[in-house]
Each structure stands twice: as C-alpha cells, then as structure tokens.
Subunit: 225 residues, 2 copies
C-alpha cells in the first residue's frame, strides 16, 4: 500500500473527514441517506471502519442516525436555525467585547479571511465566500481563548454551512453584504468594540433571516415532492 504521507490519524478519522467535507461542500445534500456497504466500498474501507466514521459525524450533528434505518445527512429546521443563531449571538458578541488590544494576534488572521472573502465575492465563488465568511466569525470566537468553546462553535458553524450552501441553488446571493465584514474589521482594529458588537448583532439578524428564508423554501419544496 502507498501511504506516502504520515498517517498519524486513523482511517476512520480520515473517512469522517472526507464525508464531512462532502457534506459541508454541498455534495451530499441534507436528507440524503447513506448506505454502509456501497459507501464503504466506494472509499475502499471496511464496513466497520465506515461505521466508526458515521458514528463520529452523527455525534457532530452532521449525520442523523436512526436505529436500523441507517444514517442520513441532517436537515436543519427553522427551529434549528433559531437555536443556532441564538447561540451565535450569545457567543460572538461577548467575544468582540472581550477583544482587548493585548491579544491582537487574531487581527492579521481576520484581515486574511476578509481579503479572501472579498476576493471570492468578486469572483462569484459562492462556496469559497461562505468558507471565508464563516472563518471570519470563527476567528472572532478566538477572543474568548477557550478551546472547548471553539470546538463547540465549530460544530455550530458546520450546521450553518450545511444550510448556506443551499443558498447557491436558491439564487439568493447576499452580495449587498460585502462591506459589513470590512466595517466590522475596521471598528475592531480601531478598538470601537461596542460599535462593532452592534454591527455584528445586526449582521447576525440579517444572516439568520436569510438562512431562514432558504430553509423555509427547502421545506416547502420537500413537502410538495
């Protein structure tokens, strides 16, 4: 076997990563059900390994496991969106307010995410724009300096992303929102934390209603099918 690169991680973890990526990229749409045998075969791993991988993803919330009925890509409901954005507000806004000048090591990374975001929007690369958008927000959470919080938030972001990639299909590109991130970055680096927090709150409201609209449309489409 090849295995050129160092495999410090187990095959099960690698399989989980591959599936995670497919889900977050929108290759596997919410509701898609996954069958163990064909999927394991297609990736060249055993069924047991595939089961470990799906176990991981179901604990992350990306897959939903129904006993004796297999796993399927999770579907966000409107209630889920509400819950997630409640949490985003609860976590991101205090993060901004906790951003002291002393730990400004995050700023360059925010700058980076911002640049990537703006470039992606210019090039109409929606998927990448989503990536950088969410990366920007993840970086904000870093101001809390709390590893557990970061992994929890990352899980939330994964769920959000699962919904956001559907926006592409809804032709509802929020191109008008481009300047918000830039503005937030400017306020943040100027130390105007309260203003930045206010802007963020507003931005999250926008984002939530946009995502809700998409989920609603999806739900309607499903019920007619």
């Amino acid at each position: 076997m090849d295995r050129s690169q160092i495999h410090r991680v187990s095959v099960a973890d690698q399989v989980a990563s591959i599936l995670r990526q497919r889900i977050l990229n929108g290759e596997l749409l919410p509701g898609t059900s996954l069958q163990e045998v064909p999927l394991a075969a297609s990736l060249g791993v055993s069924r047991n390994t595939m089961r470990e991988a799906t176990r991981i993803l179901s604990l992350e919330g990306l897959l939903k496991r129904s006993i004796h009925r297999g796993v399927a890509v999770s579907q966000l409901s409107l209630k889920d969106v509400k819950e997630i954005y409640h949490l985003r507000r609860m976590l991101e806004i205090p993060a901004i307010l906790a951003a002291k000048a002393n730990h400004s090591d995050v700023l360059p990374e925010l700058r980076n995410a911002l640049n990537g975001y703006e470039r992606a929007v210019r090039e109409h690369d929606w998927m990448q724009a989503v990536s950088f958008d969410l990366q920007f927000h993840s970086l904000l959470i870093r101001f809390h300096h709390n590893r557990r919080l970061e992994t929890f938030y990352q899980k939330l972001i994964g769920e959000v992303r699962m919904g956001m990639v559907l926006v592409d299909r809804s032709h509802d590109h929020p191109l008008g929102l481009i300047p918000v991130h830039r503005k937030m970055y400017q306020l943040l680096s100027a130390g105007k934390l309260k203003q930045c927090a206010a802007l963020l709150a507003q931005h999250l409201d926008d984002s939530e209603s946009r995502l809700s609209r998409v989920m609603d449309r999806q739900a309607a489409k499903r019920s007619t099918t």
Copy 2:
C-alpha cells in the same frame, strides 16, 4: 444472553452509558487506561462494539484516545478547570437573567433538585449531593430554551463531575455551602434575578477554586508517584 430490557438503543450506546456512569461515579478514576479485549469480554460484547462505545465517550471528552496506545479516562488540568468555569459563568449567569416568569415550569424541578441536594448533604452522601448540585445548575441552563446549549453544557458538567468525585477522597467536603443553592432558589422565585446572578457568580468562583485545589493536589500526587 439475557437482554431482558428493551433495547431501543444499540448495544454500543448502552456500553457507552455504562462506562460513562462508571467514570462519573468515580469507579474509573482519571488516568485509568482501558484495554479493549478484557473490557469487551467483561461486558459480554465484541471488540468492535466496545470500540464504538469508546469512540462515543472520547468525543464526549470523558476518554482520551491516543492512536495505537489505547484509551484512558481523561485528566482535567488546571487549565481545563479554568476553561470550563469560564464557560459556566458565560452560560449560567445569562440563563438566570433570561428567566422570565412566563416559563417558570423549571422552578418545581429546581425545587426538587434543591430538596434532593439538602437531603444528600444531611445524610453525608457526597456522590448524590454532587449529582443534585449539578442537576440544579443544569436546570438553570434550561432557561435559555436551547437544546444544543443543554447538551453542550451537559458535556461540561460531565467533566466537572469527573473532578468533583475526587473531592470525596480529598476530605474537602464543602458542607458550608449548603445554603447557597437555597438562597439562589429563593431569589429566583422572587424574581430578583440580578441578585441571584450575583450570588451565582460568587458561588461559581468558590466552586472553581475548590475544584482547582483538588486538581492541584491530584497533579502533585501524580508527579511524586
């Protein structure tokens, strides 16, 4: 095999529950390493099932998995305690402040936990006192009305508990803290949310320093062994 009880849940989940309970009860102390074969045999399940179970618990943070070196019960470091209590403050205090009279369905349950706690303390049943204490705090989180938050918080509480059961061995029973929960309950049901929040903040500080002390002692003991 017996299997009298209804198994709506998979065996792997049941095994995970059993191990979780053992860890949270202090039967399996932090640092204990678990071997797949004997453990699986002792519970009468296959190695694969045991692996799924340990996978679950390691994603919950109760077990730590080192590739090719097996799993061990997680050890809380002082940094972990700090992180966890940072989060507890961040989540519990706003929960209190969000406690409106309109959803007071939690109050009776709080009352219940309170009674159980006080009884356990009177009877010097430390383990049960810890259970009711943590249940009380978990109920506070319910004021957020957010399922994701509750499961996340539950994970944190699991980690806290893993440390708290060590207190028993340290002979550091915080019996002087008995009235705090009662007082918090009274303030809460009287609608004096700000006062309650302030008391909670203080209580969390106490709790954190007590736990830190225990972890410190444990770490010292480990280094001399």
